[in-house]
Symmetry: D2
Subunit: 415 residues, 4 copies
Amino acid sequence: MAIDFTLNARQRELQLDARQFAREVLSGAKASYEKLPSPEERFLATRPIYEAMVRAGFLRKCIPIPAGGENAGLIDMAIMAEELYSVNSSITLTLLGTVLGLLPILLGGTPEQCGRLLAPFLKKSGAPLAGFCSSEPGGSANAASPPPGEGVRTTAKLRDGHWVINGRKKWVSSATGWDRGGADVLCVVCRTDPDASPEKAMSIIAVERPAAGIVLERAIDAVGHRGHLSPQFGLENVTMPDGNLIGERGGGLALSSASFTGTAALVGILGVALMRAAFEFALHFARTERRGGIDPIIEHQAVGYALADAKMKIESTRYLSWRACHAVDTQHPAADELAIQAKIYGSETAVAVITDLMRVVGIDSYDNELPLGELLRDALVLPIFDGGNMGIRRRQLHAMLKRSDYHPLTASGAA
Amino acid sequence: MAIDFTLNARQRELQLDARQFAREVLSGAKASYEKLPSPEERFLATRPIYEAMVRAGFLRKCIPIPAGGENAGLIDMAIMAEELYSVNSSITLTLLGTVLGLLPILLGGTPEQCGRLLAPFLKKSGAPLAGFCSSEPGGSANAASPPPGEGVRTTAKLRDGHWVINGRKKWVSSATGWDRGGADVLCVVCRTDPDASPEKAMSIIAVERPAAGIVLERAIDAVGHRGHLSPQFGLENVTMPDGNLIGERGGGLALSSASFTGTAALVGILGVALMRAAFEFALHFARTERRGGIDPIIEHQAVGYALADAKMKIESTRYLSWRACHAVDTQHPAADELAIQAKIYGSETAVAVITDLMRVVGIDSYDNELPLGELLRDALVLPIFDGGNMGIRRRQLHAMLKRSDYHPLTASGAA
Amino acid sequence: MAIDFTLNARQRELQLDARQFAREVLSGAKASYEKLPSPEERFLATRPIYEAMVRAGFLRKCIPIPAGGENAGLIDMAIMAEELYSVNSSITLTLLGTVLGLLPILLGGTPEQCGRLLAPFLKKSGAPLAGFCSSEPGGSANAASPPPGEGVRTTAKLRDGHWVINGRKKWVSSATGWDRGGADVLCVVCRTDPDASPEKAMSIIAVERPAAGIVLERAIDAVGHRGHLSPQFGLENVTMPDGNLIGERGGGLALSSASFTGTAALVGILGVALMRAAFEFALHFARTERRGGIDPIIEHQAVGYALADAKMKIESTRYLSWRACHAVDTQHPAADELAIQAKIYGSETAVAVITDLMRVVGIDSYDNELPLGELLRDALVLPIFDGGNMGIRRRQLHAMLKRSDYHPLTASGAA
Amino acid sequence: MAIDFTLNARQRELQLDARQFAREVLSGAKASYEKLPSPEERFLATRPIYEAMVRAGFLRKCIPIPAGGENAGLIDMAIMAEELYSVNSSITLTLLGTVLGLLPILLGGTPEQCGRLLAPFLKKSGAPLAGFCSSEPGGSANAASPPPGEGVRTTAKLRDGHWVINGRKKWVSSATGWDRGGADVLCVVCRTDPDASPEKAMSIIAVERPAAGIVLERAIDAVGHRGHLSPQFGLENVTMPDGNLIGERGGGLALSSASFTGTAALVGILGVALMRAAFEFALHFARTERRGGIDPIIEHQAVGYALADAKMKIESTRYLSWRACHAVDTQHPAADELAIQAKIYGSETAVAVITDLMRVVGIDSYDNELPLGELLRDALVLPIFDGGNMGIRRRQLHAMLKRSDYHPLTASGAA
């Protein structure tokens, strides 16, 4: 136990495995879908790659060992995710979105639920998908709002031992699945007790495939992640047995919030991954391109300093993210704070750094034949998904700072 | 003569005319092309709108009165451009790119050349296009490089009273025209004296349509301006009479630089236009959306402050840009400095402000059904076209600061 | 009437007069006080310079022509203030603080009050001081708070035709005067109707010298403006005739707010003035210093770009500030918005730019023999005085944005 | 060996010891010197506190175990320095400057030199001082400049087995000692071979006390660190035996550069320390002050978000700095890169964060009775000392990026 930044042998192996898979399989993946006109077509075209990813064991590597998978913690996830996401963000997000979709089960499910619901995801075959159905059309930054705020609008009513779910969701990765029939498992945040206070009114119910009533409204044509499916869809009398309620009845918001802690730490690393790809491109460009002049443009001080500043910010993001992952892994009292900081800092830094690197490259970065435009379009989602930085994430930090027991040195272990 | 920020009657009329045209014609234009798969198809689909713009006189309004048009100065251009560009950037850029294409003629042409070459652009009919062919594949930030830097790679050799032009160009708005045969007029920067020093080696030659040898390599699939044509193309033995050389032989770099002063001041206003559109959307969103909560989100201080900061930056950009336009119009000794400042400041501020406004709106801004993503993709070109801020524009300012006669108070008239 | 950035003849003369006075008198002023240990001693040592300023007519030049002075508007004030404040911030702030102290009278006083109270300030002799007593110990960002917030704590009770004022104030420039007995005129914001709602409870009362009961608690040792007096002081049964109430009884907050509009526009120019001084120093340093190397450091691209960026921000601040002053002068409907934007933008930009310029100069800028440290210490007050940017100024903008009749194009005259 | 952020038992004890000393001794130290008028008087007044620091063993805790001290590495230094520097920057800098003064000996000295020269610093008594004499009047950003650049101007000539040193130095912490006679040990960078190329021309010579010829020119009145001595001084025929040359003759620049790697990593932590102190103050202020309103100002979203952002940046700085220290401790191939990144990032972030926190507190932060102004004045040196970020540190990073063997993943161990 000591301050250390060295990957252990397992992590190093994971890193090199993921890098090899990224190079061999992911690096060429975009060609298979980028020219397709609709988001849904593009998503469907990624299926073989996603299947290869599952087959290579990367989904299992995201599921904790106690639950039957091979994941030893969030730092391991971060190391793997950096390698994959820096090479293909869309398909990697399909993987990570599936893991997020399982998180409520992993955190709050009974052994029976875990065994039953996780089984398809532990095999190294197929293309199993899961989704965490939290956001709704009209926005969910105030999911915990008391009336007359709408808060969570999706409802579930218990009838004859079954939950009947009605509502609409949006921005849930892969939620409608490969065939519009729904992902293999959807964890749906819904209002189970309409008269209770928000802290007691919501629950999470696992919707298993096949489930009638999942209705795709549209596959969102998003600014980035062009090979990823973000549907807007309805749940129309979707009916699930009572036993598919995950965690405590009324504990939906708390379980949702807990699920989004780990993802927050990971978003920092997604920012690192995109910045890393952009930096590697820009560095190579600066070293090799002369733009009509005598020397490679890296000889210009403005170029060199801009690259140095980008690199500095990448490193600062990586270690904050690692620190947050470590805090989550060790159930550190400041895990929430650090995870959210990694999310905000990593996401906003990624957008800023890639924007700057476009200027290092200059006008040709506006040509989609070069990767920077796409990397920026991908990065733009980081500050606004997984809890928007302005409406959700900073509000969480603000709430922490107001608590009388908040101590500024807790995060670094120095309190 | 006094410090004043009030539009005169002509400017106000121009503003309202342009706004009306934008609302009535431009606002629906995108629907006609946005779903088309290729850049060239999208560009072709804008032709009816561009023709309407010409018919409504907006091209004439960009050509100076002494040259037969109706433009009274750059401030007028700025007022008009803000209205049009904030509603449809792509088609407005086709207009402005055409004006840029004519600038070398306007600044350096003989009366005969002006009369002959400008004629098609003074009519209120057709869809005349012009392009300023400066940038080349491989980059042109060092166009003035001495050997062994390549500088300008396109050459023109005089044979039997004709210039024979060979080379390749990139990023020239509309250059290959509606039918790949070339714009009506192309002002081509080329090396006419290969052995002279850079200051004497380049000239600008006007290529008139029809001209054999314009070869489209590809229509660039760009990050933004999806309805605009930015081709990469070759000039293969394009042959023009001796009399089409514009300005002095060997004076190409100076004439090119002079042409890019006015555009620089205007780029500041293009930034204003995009920010304005983004701000209007975000303000409306914040006033009307509750995102599940009780009040419109503008009630949140973080939202209100972010909007206020955006607005403040918009205003600061507008007045710097106006000041730069005024300096150009009055041939102020600091016109170059101010124009470049407006370009750098306006372009970078636009990217930053729209990025921030996406966070005000939150995740739904990642949905292309909302305008912010496209506004940002459009804005991303501003810092890197028309002379990249890092490789060209700041270098110009740096060179000014080094001059022994540089006085910091000249710009404000206080020296 | 047209967009124009040219000083008229009167303004140019004012500029050159102020510049001459600054060079001849202000430039050496600091030597007379900088080594004195206490704030009060330093302030007292500035008196001869302040008297010279009054004698040269600069106080009269700040008082509007209709009130018997020579000031033709806020743009003129801005032009003058830039010249003086860039050379000596402390003494110029004594002048400007006096003008602010008179603003409630100028805006809300009766002809009799104006005649009587302004008289000492219209002479070109003496060292008359005035102060606007708004801020209080414990802070005044919520001066308009309803109970149980304290809001304005200073009270005035009407007894036998006289107001008896009790309370404490802080941060009021020059308030306790040259001899602790009080400035010649103090406009005191106080609670005259304790039971009324905040909009009706406060009034402004002019306290004329001599007035018993002004008690200096301490002269604040401030971060900057080392030759300026910012006292914390008490008003203990200060008694003034009924007729010294300025404007309407209960109209104190509105009158206070109106007074702070013009100052806000001017703060932008104060930022310009400090940046200008810093830039001139840094530019000269960069052109002449080699720091052990072969060339002046301005040859380094990083230095040149940093200087160029600083200059760009200075110009952007100047024209936004001019635009705000013009709006105030013409009673433009967006005058408030623009003035506050100039205040926020100018103040924060000044701090950022001077901080950056310290890095251009390097370690020697940490030596108080060079001016940059002091310029930064002076600039640090700009964002937090005259209505702090976070607690007051942005809140004002936020409130505007929420109004249903707010139109984003009003500021530029394009609504 | 694994990624870990947990202090070991020794580090935790060191942290708590340092914190206790800071609270009990340092927290009241400023009162003893802050009112004294001259820098030298203030410095002299800190001597009892510095002696207490030495007596408590903190100097020994900075000297590596192999050299007879108790320091186990740079992470330990960082943990200790954060505690001390956040409470009193001036005296802690006297300690750290002394350690820097010994670094060339620690890194390049022979066992004999170490034994002899370090002895006074290993005792827990007295007030031993050392200084690293690198910077000179006129600047040293180009110390390695070839002629005609001056580079290092101080010379040492070998005569009769003794080095005779002549020159001038500036900004060397504590260099002239408590009595103007010189620190106990000064490591002087000087030109020993005037005709050699810069890489071979400079050496470091240890000047031991007593040494005739140390002549104080002036104690710099600096922007911050008011209790610290930064002299400008001359070396006039200072004569030392041949055996006091440290490391290889001609190896001065390399040894100097190596010494400045460790300090760079530590500067990041100095930034953390100042931000931490500022944050603790601002948080307490926001929780307890109402500024005339009903609620503590932390209830305002703008305040809460600003505090949250400050905290996020503090944490990002801490882990980057720890990572850099760890890299130095483990002689990681990217140690230089990471150390410089920590220096640049930590120093600039500190200035930005404290500037922001002043705005949270508002106008009262301009009152020197509150700590923020002083914390900012202290922080301002971080970007410009220890190798200015613009002229030295970013140039070092730029040089690394140009090397053909530079790999962006080396820093994180992922290459």
